[in-house]
């Protein structure tokens, strides 16, 4: 079972590599986990796609200093501390685009440290 899932993931990854799509985003349904890395002044990936009603764990980490992750419309927030992985569980209930941003002031580009969560059917 695990091997089949891994094969499937690899196949999708290969496909994505060819199409240039975001692997974290598209694999969310299979893996149920999406890694989001924060550093001045960006999130990677900065846009993720989730499926309505499908639970997902966001794994947040920082490459440099403390950042925040805040998606007010989804009532999701966490501190992202260096050297630590923070998990946020979410099961989006409504389709739409939801902004998230860094809410711990991190420097001159802080105001542009933004991202988007797309929730689809």
């Amino acid at each position: 079972m695990i091997r089949e899932t891994a094969k499937r993931a690899l196949a999708i990854a290969g496909l994505l590599a060819m199409t240039g799509l975001n692997i974290h985003s598209a694999l969310s349904e299979d893996s149920k986990t999406i890694k989001i890395s924060a550093k001045r002044y960006e999130f990677a990936p900065s846009e993720i796609t989730l499926k309505k009603g499908v639970p997902v764990i966001l794994q947040l980490s920082s490459e440099d200093r403390s950042h925040g992750f805040y998606a007010p419309s989804l009532n999701l927030r966490a501190d992202i501390l260096p050297g630590k992985v923070t998990e946020l569980k979410v099961t989006p209930q409504k389709t739409g685009d939801y902004d998230f941003y860094c809410d711990i002031f991190c420097g001159s580009g802080h105001e542009s440290m933004l991202g988007k969560i797309k929730v689809v059917d």
Binding site: G68, P72, S73, D99, Y101, D103, I104, F105, S108, S112
Partner: protein
């Protein structure tokens, strides 16, 4: 005795930021409190000294200086000037931060006003918890009393999470404990205490705690900066008024996909760096708010 302020003068003053005219505003209707005298003060905000971006403000080195000149050219001096944060643009380099604060201090040192109250914004204080700011401007939260009004300067930026913090909340609680239910209270702060638009970080994480402490008091107004545009909102009976910036204007919350400053428009220079005046009428106990743009010369 009521201090009369010529309206043209009043409007002209408002042209460089915001002006607040206090007219015994918190007395009972028709009954000014003993010792109260009308007065006004100038509110300047978000000068972001050190900001560079010709597409946003090609007069980045000149706007603050123009503001100072305008205040000084008034026939009637304001009782005091208050800066509600983001005096300087942030930087990682402590020496550059100090240099910017020094330059800012030199420029506003030209103000022909006896009293100037400063407050930090996150650009001044969030990266070093206000340490450099305090070297130049002193405490980040404090109170003062002026002609029957109790002013409370709240710091919601030295904590980089945009919070007031439990210690300061306790300090606020203790200070309010010394006030009467009908005391005249004005809160000065940088970020909005209420959730104006959290999607753009236009909020204070624990601002609701401060508002809760202020709610038992009948006469409270809050003046703040941060959002770089004029905005007025009530939380219950508490009025919140934001000030425009002296560097870069921001669009209306949520009106554009991303939180970005409004680009400079040479056809309409200084647009969005306008001003307001706030006139409180004693008997009616209401504010008269008027918004004016800045023209190319920076004068009304």
């Amino acid at each position: 005795m009521t201090t009369e302020i010529d309206r043209r003068e009043f409007i002209r003053l408002a042209g460089i930021g915001g002006v607040v005219f206090m007219s015994g505003i918190y007395g009972l209707p028709g009954q000014a409190m003993p010792g109260n005298k009308d007065f006004f003060f100038v509110q300047l905000s978000d000068s972001h000294w050190g900001f560079e971006g010709a597409k946003i403000n090609p007069d980045a080195k000149g706007t603050l200086r123009k503001a100072v000149k305008e205040v000084n050219s008034l026939n009637q001096k304001p009782d005091f000037v208050v800066f509600t944060g983001d005096l300087t643009q942030t930087t990682d380099d402590t020496n550059v931060r100090k240099q910017r604060m020094k330059e800012f201090q030199e420029i506003v040192g030209e103000l022909d006003t006896k009293v100037v109250h400063f407050m930090p914004g996150e650009h001044d204080a969030s990266l070093d918890k206000g340490e450099t700011y305090k070297e130049f401007f002193g405490a980040t939260h404090y109170t003062f009393d002026h002609k029957g009004v109790h002013f409370i300067a709240l710091d919601n930026v030295s904590d980089p999470t945009g919070s007031i913090g439990d210690d300061q909340i306790e300090w606020l609680k203790a200070d309010l404990g010394r006030q009467k239910p009908d005391s005249n209270i004005v809160v000065l702060t940088h970020r909005p205490l209420f959730d104006l638009y959290p999607q753009w970080d236009w909020a204070t994480r624990d601002g609701a705690k401060a508002i809760e402490l202020l709610m038992p008091f009948k006469n409270v107004s809050v003046f703040y900066g941060h959002i770089h545009r004029e905005h007025h909102q009530m939380t219950g009976h508490i009025a919140h008024h934001s000030a425009t910036s002296l560097m870069l204007p921001m669009p209306e919350a949520g009106s554009v996909p991303k939180r970005m400053p409004i680009p400079w428009n040479s056809a309409e220079p200084y647009k969005g760096l306008g001003f307001r005046n706030v006139h409180s009428e004693t008997k009616a106990r209401k504010y008269e708010l008027t918004q004016y743009p800045i023209n190319e010369a920076g004068k009304v």
